[in-house]
């Protein structure tokens, strides 16, 4: 029997990027807010101090900061006619855990989606014809435009102290920036990071082949910075321990680095850690949430009543919580009916391995998001006529370090061990790097999330089941992008070059990205979306999913976090300025 706590105005499920932004905005508006987080409290000084944060084995290999599958995992299959089996050890993607969530272990790659990404289906059908898209492709327009979201992107980048160079300021192209990006109301809050030799050589090769390279936008502070919340970031030291690590230097943007010091000061905000929300509770009509039920580490069950429930967990777990709470109609892939779990998408990545002659690249000097990039082949930045696919991605040199357990390039044909392996490893480390493409993943009828019929979590609740594979459109796109990247690599005069376009089937054992999207999609039509344009549940008006990547109708050729942060601000504004004045459906 759950013990009932005194009511709150707002309960936030999960204290990562979206939870901390919504917490701050609504606590500032005077609401009584509690955030319930299933993982531990984490902070820079106690959890990733620079006295031992640079530990590849502990953090990158043994995955110390990540969710333990024994607490929650998924089952996975490529196709609907297979039996899904549990992911017993996370490998292909790595959900975070604890306060800060994925905001701790991300790299800081901070990209806006293209204006045409927001009306992708109408745009592609208009340009290439009604029949241009495969019949089972279920991409759809976003329910808001780039123009509407622009100021919210700007806010999130200022929160993070993002480093970069604008390519389009209020419609005027800026030399040195991304010429394809949507307009910006202001430049990045920090100048671009410095570049190493590998990125510099890539940029030369890209220019030589007629492309327009620019520095990758990075939420690794290039200079000391104070954000609008008054929180100070330190200058990035290029230590090369971003991805899978917490930042010990207060340089990589995270809830810890950017929000929590200001948020915790509100007397009307509290965080409840090591407490897992098991259910959003509904009243007898099923149209209104009454709060949440959670279980703490001692097994004690609590009920936290609240007027407003914000679902702020990682994308995949937002979907599962909606399914377990019975909010919205679950998606049925056989009929195409239902919405919760629909339009799960991912990211289509590929690489070109390059070995140069007689170079000293010092590849260990890196940040999670520095590097030089081209955007010529993203979205619909290039004419797809006759190519046989839609979509695209950015590409370039974005190596995030060269920690040697996981990064030890060797020439083709080198044995995996023994004397030759040792010699090749020693001789290649300083001369090699990997270029990469970061491509879109459009959504399909047979790629979705639902509850598994067999496997349960430690509390006896069904695990979520992922059914996902790459489709021909994405594989063709990856082949085309990888060819273009190889042409640039060739202009760098390599000794050896190894293009690896993405091949199917999707393999859950090989790390690609943790950009899992969709499942609680936002949209203009309740028949094809879980949430309206304000990230509010169509069915239960006091439940919002404020901008986690589960709201993406499909995934575009960029990392999701900037859009996640922008949508968090977008939703916070809608709640504060519209919902609180007149609680009810905003759609």
């Amino acid at each position: 029997m759950a013990r009932k706590l005194p009511p709150k105005d707002v309960v936030i499920i999960g204290l990562g990027w979206t939870g901390s932004i919504l917490g701050y905005e609504l606590a500032k508006a005077g609401l009584d807010v509690v955030a319930i987080e299933r993982g531990p409290w984490r902070d820079t000084a106690s959890d990733f101090p620079p006295s031992y944060a640079q530990d590849e084995l502990r953090y990158a290999v043994r995955l110390d900061l990540f969710l333990r599958p024994e607490q929650e995992t998924l089952t996975f299959r490529n196709r609907m006619n297979q039996t899904a089996l549990p992911i017993r050890r996370f490998a292909g993607f790595l959900p975070g855990n604890g306060v800060g969530g994925a905001g701790i272990h991300w790299n800081g790659q901070t990209w806006r989606f293209l204006p045409t990404d927001f009306n992708i289906r109408s745009h592609l059908e208009h340009r290439y014809g009604q029949d241009a898209l495969p019949a089972d492709m279920t991409i759809q327009d976003w329910p808001l435009s780039y123009d509407e979201l622009e100021s919210h992107y700007d806010r999130f980048e200022k929160l993070c102290g993002t480093s970069g160079k604008a390519g389009n300021l209020k419609g005027i192209k800026q030399p040195g920036g991304n010429p394809f990006e949507g307009w910006r109301s202001s430049d990045y809050p920090n100048p671009p990071l410095k570049q190493g030799l590998g990125a510099t050589l890539f940029a030369e090769g890209a220019r030589k082949t007629g492309h327009m390279p620019f520095p990758q936008p990075a939420s690794n502070a290039s200079e000391a910075y104070t954000n609008p919340l008054g929180v100070k970031l330190g200058q990035c030291s290029y230590c090369g321990f971003c991805e899978r690590f917490g930042c010990g230097n207060f340089s990589k943007a995270s809830p810890q680095t950017c929000v929590l010091p200001a948020l915790l000061r509100f007397p009307n905000f509290s965080a409840q850690t090591e407490s897992e929300v098991t259910k959003i509770n509904l009243d007898s009509t099923g149209k209104r949430a009454t709060g949440v039920t959670y279980v703490d580490t001692s097994g004690e069950v609590w009920e936290q009543p609240a007027d407003l429930v914000l679902v702020c967990a990682f994308a995949l777990f937002n979907v599962r919580l909606m399914l377990l709470s019975g909010i919205g109609k679950p998606y049925d892939a056989d009929t195409g009916q239902g919405v919760v779990g629909r339009n799960y998408a991912y990211q289509t990545t590929s690489s070109v391995g390059v070995i140069l002659k007689d170079k000293i690249l010092n590849p260990f000097i890196a940040t999670g998001a520095h590097g030089m990039i081209i955007d010529d082949y993203n979205g619909d930045n290039f004419d797809h006529s006759g190519l046989g696919f839609v979509g695209g991605g950015y590409m370039g040199f974005g190596q995030t370090g060269a920690r040697p357990i996981q990064t030890r390039p060797v020439p083709k044909g080198t044995p995996k061990w023994g004397a030759q392996w040792k010699k090749a490893t020693a001789e290649t480390y300083q001369k090699a790097f990997s270029l990469s493409t970061h491509g879109s993943s459009y959504s399909y009828k047979d790629c979705y999330l639902d509850l598994d019929p067999t496997y349960k979590d430690r509390l006896g609740r069904p695990l979520m089941r992922m059914t996902f594979d790459f489709h021909d459109n994405e594989l063709k796109m990856s082949a085309y992008l990888t060819d273009r990247l190889a042409e640039i690599a060739k202009a760098m005069d390599p000794v050896e070059m190894t293009p690896s376009p993405r091949k199917g089937p999707y393999d859950s054992t090989i790390y690609q990205t943790t950009h899992n999207t969709g499942g609680t999609v936002m949209g203009a039509d309740p028949a094809t979306s879980v949430l309206n344009r304000y990230c509010q549940s169509w069915d239960v008006h006091n439940v919002f999913v404020p901008g986690g990547a589960s709201v993406f109708p499909q995934n575009h050729g960029y990392n999701p976090t900037d859009t996640v942060g922008a949508l968090a601000y977008w939703t916070a504004d809608a709640i504060r300025e519209r919902y609180l004045r007149n609680p009810g459906p905003l759609g």
């Binding site: 706590l5 410095k194 509290s270």
Partner: protein
């Protein structure tokens, strides 16, 4: 937009804090409630546990002899530096198997266990420690049957390499063991030991890092980002510092 929205705020906040006190007094919940400021308490950090030399913690003496011989062929000694044995790879694996990694701590181990596609990942209930125990026994049995009177450690290096290559390719099938998978695990753990921070018992004197030129746990390269094509001049450091800073026992 900064004006308080809820007129109930003060009353609710008071009720909540009263309830929290009551709750704290009546249960043993370990969950934490945080508000008012960032929490700070001494010794809240969790530094890694230093691996100390000494007796084997997981391996038997026979297993240890086999492992030491194997890691020294996977990473042989040469004029570039020590091999896997002198670099401590066997000690690393021993301490890993004796700890949470060895018992697959934190992984999802609920039944049913069913064979699946390769894309679905490892689907067996046995943890790394059990896999080593079974794999090393089967390997010792294979060597005894194939090279009468000799253990793996007593074989000539060329024969050791032949056995390892046979495990890798699957041309040797150890009884009751998924042989290629076991070899892949051994190779992965050996290389982890060679390149992980020395605090875990391998990479002794930073042999692995010196081999490739990785400076280790340094934290500030700001002055070196734009010094292209120059060898970084400082030697590697680990979490414990450098061995020549430490007093030899």
């Amino acid at each position: 937009m900064d004006a308080p929205y809820s007129s109930n705020l003060t009353r609710r906040a008071m009720l909540a804090s009263t309830a929290a006190l009551l709750v704290a007094g009546s249960t043993v919940a370990r969950a934490r409630t945080l508000n008012g400021a960032l929490p700070w308490e001494p010794d809240a950090a969790r530094p890694p546990t230093l691996v100390r030399p000494g007796p084997w913690m997981f391996f038997t003496a026979d297993e240890a002899a086999l492992i030491e011989a194997a890691v020294d062929r996977l990473i042989p000694q040469d004029d570039r530096g020590p091999g896997g044995k002198d670099a401590g790879c066997a000690v690393f694996i021993d301490r890993q198997l004796a700890g949470p990694y060895g018992r697959a701590a934190g992984l999802y181990l609920q039944p049913p266990f069913m064979p699946g596609a390769a894309t679905q990942g490892y689907q067996m209930p046995d943890a790394p420690a059990a896999r080593y125990r079974a794999g090393l026994k089967a390997l010792a049995d294979y060597v005894k049957a194939t090279f009468p009177g000799k253990s793996f450690a007593e074989l000539a290096p060329v024969d050791q390499d032949k056995v390892l290559a046979g495990l890798e390719s699957g041309s040797i099938a150890l009884t009751g063991v998924k042989t290629a998978e076991f070899f892949a695990l051994l190779l992965q753990n050996t290389q982890e030991g060679f390149f992980a921070d020395p605090i875990y018992g391998g990479n002794r004197d930073m042999a692995g890092w010196k081999l490739v030129g990785f400076p280790g746990a340094r934290y500030d390269y700001r002055d070196w980002v734009e010094r292209h094509n120059e060898v970084y001049p400082l030697p590697p450091v680990g979490i414990m510092g450098r061995s020549d800073w430490t007093v030899k026992e």
